[in-house]
Symmetry: C2
DNA sequence: ATCGGATTTAGAGTTGACTTTAAGTTGAAG
DNA sequence: CTTCAACTTAAAGTCAACTCTAAATCCGAT
């Protein structure tokens, strides 16, 4: 059993964010102590693991909530879940290819400026003589 | 010379967004007709090209504005500009590595669910007999 | 038993990046 | 010359994803 702070440390999400995720239906059924304090299990941590992967690859809170809801509805939603993950995967691959392309242009510009800087510094050195 | 609509079509940014970018200092010195209407040049388009690359690789509006401002200050800011691009490039590479890692986990989960779906469908088929 | 730092809630506030609105102006086509 | 879609501005509105606040409760340590 982990407190919200333990989980915060393990996941890098703040306690605020963890409560927010719960409110939004991303992580459900977290146990409470008799006093109402959250007690996360290892299973909760694992579920948070998948959530973080989806989040970090750009899935929206809403879409993740949808996925989690389908999971609770049982095996008859397996097809829809597979479809959802497949589409997400496609989108991420596209996004990454696009980023790579744009990053290449940035790299090109960087090299260009680096060369320009070299020339400028040489000129300044001469001037100083 | 291009109107804001022409540029919108060429870049995929809306006319609204182009004006917003101008207000935020991302694209400066766009010419105007005697009546005050924007007239973009090929050079403006090229500058927008770099802006789009930075934007698409996750640089914030503010940071791009900073970069553009440095550009206007002349060659003595070359070193800072190179540093800025270099750091951005590093961040993007890290981000992409992280995304790839998380995507791998999603792919793993997807395969897991696909197999589970196959088993489920087989069970349903038997039941139907 | 009591102290104080962590936890709880509902709800308000923030941030970044647009996006829309309102009210007025411009300019190519008929 | 008129028309009317496209342009202009400043400012308000939207959206996602947090982030913070206040006021109350919890609980491990002295």
């Amino acid at each position: 059993m982990y407190t919200i702070q333990d989980v915060s440390k393990k996941t890098g999400l703040t306690a605020h964010t963890l409560r927010y995720y719960e409110k939004e239906g991303l992580i459900t059924g977290v146990e409470r102590s008799q006093g109402g304090i959250r007690q996360y299990t290892d299973e909760d941590l694992e579920r948070l693991g998948l959530i973080r992967c989806l989040k970090n690859t750009g899935m929206s809170i809403q879409e993740i909530a949808r996925f989690v809801q389908l999971t609770h509805e049982g095996d008859h939603t397996l097809e829809e879940r597979v479809e959802l993950l497949r589409e997400h995967r496609e989108r991420v691959l596209e996004r990454m290819a696009e980023m790579q392309e744009h990053l290449d242009k940035v790299t090109w510009k960087l090299n260009f400026f680096t060369e320009k800087l070299r020339a400028y510094q040489e000129k300044e050195t001469k001037k100083a003589k």
